[in-house]
């Protein structure tokens, strides 16, 4: 089978349990932090579909996240809660639609050119929001009231409520994870694995690889849009920074830190990255220096990322060990 069996999958129910029970014991600060991590995990999962499973190293993934986040603000009424039925699908569609348009161009390039043109497109979108009054310019814009889910008069879900927000994020993380797992074992997922392994042969076998890559790109854009939606709702404001190349770089680092092409790795990478960011920035202004050192170390010592650590340790204990995890 194309996908390596991942032993850590057995721990998933435990992870889910911890996440579900966390707010019972955690303070509001930590609840917010974990919610942020889960949002970043969805974002990193969406990028892993491209980087780890299709072989497309995108350096412009913030474009879809950011465009979706802005769409939440732009589509919500100024002083009333937006309708979740409308705002959420619209945000996901925004991410997917931007990915579709960008993908039509960038997927004609390969390798280093692909990395550069994805970055270029993301920068274009960054400057659209940074330099025009569309989304409040460089100051960004506020989402005064967060969306809610209503049926008639009854409010079922209110994202202004931190506890409800936490569980909504958790639910979406589970949905995104399961969706990707299912997708990857489908014919489409196997075809993407084939493209990652040997695109030339896939085409010669009769696969219209451009369309497959576009499907992957649009799906990843939509999922990034979901993360962008949640992020806008968490903080209640958006700035052009969420579209910047730093954001694209950070999510790429999460995927690399955790290990590409495993899904679990993307989530672990998001967790490690955000926690390290918190810890280091509390220690020093120059936290990026420390972060850089950690990432260099992980890449050199653990080429398979943090998610390969258990297997790696097992290999060391049993003796011999396999090099790439």
């Amino acid at each position: 089978m194309p996908l390596p069996r991942n032993k850590t999958r057995n721990y998933l129910p435990l992870v889910l349990l911890v996440l579900a029970l966390f707010p019972v014991f955690g303070s509001s600060y930590y609840n917010e932090l974990i919610a942020k991590i889960m949002i970043m995990a969805i974002f990193a999962l969406s990028l892993d579909l491209l980087v780890g499973f299709t072989g497309l190293v995108s350096f412009g993934h913030a474009a879809f996240f950011g465009a979706a986040a802005y769409s939440v603000v732009l589509l919500s009424p100024k002083y009333d809660p937006g309708n979740l039925w409308l705002v959420l699908p619209a945000a996901v569609l925004t991410g997917a639609a931007v990915a579709f348009v960008v993908g039509l161009f960038v997927l004609r390039t390969k390798g280093i050119y692909f990395i550069m043109v994805t970055l270029a497109f993301a920068q274009m979108i960054y400057f659209v929001f940074h330099d025009t009054p569309l989304g409040g310019g460089s100051d960004g814009a506020f989402l005064n009231v967060k969306p809610e889910l209503r049926i008639g008069e009854k409010v079922l879900l209110d994202l202004n409520e931190p506890m409800q927000f936490y569980y909504i994020v958790l639910a979406f993380l589970v949905v995104a994870y399961v969706f990707l797992r299912v997708l990857l074992r489908s014919p489409l997922g196997h075809a993407l694995a084939g493209i990652r392994s040997n695109e030339h042969r896939m085409q010669s076998l009769g696969f219209p690889v451009f369309l497959y890559k576009l499907a992957s790109f649009v799906t990843a854009g939509g999922l990034a849009g979901l993360a962008g939606f949640l992020s806008a709702c968490q903080y209640g404001f958006v700035t052009p920074e969420i579209l910047s190349w730093h954001q694209s770089g950070n999510v790429l680092l999460m995927v690399i830190l955790g290990g590409m092409g495993t899904l679990n790795g993307a989530a672990i990478g998001a967790f490690a990255f955000v926690v390290l960011q918190e810890v280091f920035s509390a220690l020093t202004k120059h936290w990026q220096l420390l972060m850089g050192a950690v990432i260099v170390t992980v890449v050199m010592v653990l080429p398979g990322g943090l998610s390969s650590l258990p297997q790696r340790l097992k290999g060391l204990l049993i003796g011999g060990g396999n090099r790439n995890g």
């Binding site: 489908s186 014919p187 489409l188 392994s197 042969r201 076998l205």
Partner: protein, 253 residues
């Protein structure tokens, strides 16, 4: 005369000022194996690349069942029934033999939208893959990761993947290269078995094999067709003998 399936008409391919193929015309019929011989640099691989769509021709036409397909992409040609194998093994090294072939079979009915179904659960794809593996003589290696196969076995897999796409045209670029004598023999037997239902183009250096299986032989030199005809005619051709003996030994790269 057998059914004409694929033909090249005045096909040329230039790289800068150099002609890799010049005014090449040849016909492939169903039920016939058309072998292409020639020293290194004669343009045999370019010929296959032009027919398969890996390279666009600079001039001339490629006709498939009467239709001009010169502008078609490789994947469109493959879906239409033109399958090819590669001289340099071109497989999915991290996948098992079975998955290599299952994926090849999947290209016929992509089912890209069936995202809630397991790719490995479709019985028709499994059957097509297993049939191709069986035909190529790899049944015992079905669940082995392709990268760990021997060189000869990877050559067999190369063929199995093409067969799994159920093509009507087979463009085979040196399928015997790197195979042991036993594997070669079974490949020659397979080619004979496949010929009645396919139009086959075989580029091969192994003269014994070529003369054993070919119905038509075309000899190419410096990108051009030197002579084309039944094996006996080629064997007795003065021009062919001169081309081979004059250019030194045909080495096999």
């Amino acid at each position: 005369m057998a059914e004409l399936v694929l033909s090249a008409r005045g096909m040329s391919r230039r790289f800068g000022g150099l002609y890799a193929n010049r005014d090449v015309s040849l016909d492939m019929h169903k039920g016939m194996l058309h072998a292409v011989l020639g020293p290194n640099g004669a343009g045999k691989s370019t010929l296959i690349n032009l027919l398969s769509g890996d390279l666009p021709p600079s001039a001339g036409q490629i006709l498939y069942r009467g239709e001009d397909i010169s502008g078609w992409s490789p994947d469109k040609r493959s879906r239409a029934g033109i399958g090819r194998s590669y001289q340099r093994t071109n497989i999915f090294p991290a996948f098992t033999v079975f998955e290599n072939c299952r994926l090849a079979a999947q290209s016929r009915t992509p089912r890209a939208l069936r995202i809630f179904s397991k790719a490995v659960a479709f019985p028709d794809l499994r059957d097509a893959a297993d049939r191709a593996i069986e035909q190529a003589g790899l049944a015992e290696r079905r669940d082995v990761v392709a990268a760990t196969l021997s060189h000869g076995e990877q050559r067999q897999l190369e063929i199995a993947m093409v067969l799994a796409t159920a093509p009507s045209v087979l463009l085979l670029d040196e399928p015997l290269a790197g195979m042991g004598p036993e594997e070669s023999q079974s490949m020659v037997a397979l080619l004979k078995k496949l010929t009645p239902d396919h139009a086959i183009l075989l580029v091969e250096h192994d003269m014994d094999a070529v003369f054993a299986v070919a119905d038509v032989i075309t000899v190419m030199v410096t990108g051009q067709v030197l002579e084309s005809g039944p094996p006996d005619q080629i064997r007795d051709s003065v021009a062919v003998q001169e081309a081979y003996l004059g250019e030194g030994e045909p080495d096999d790269e």
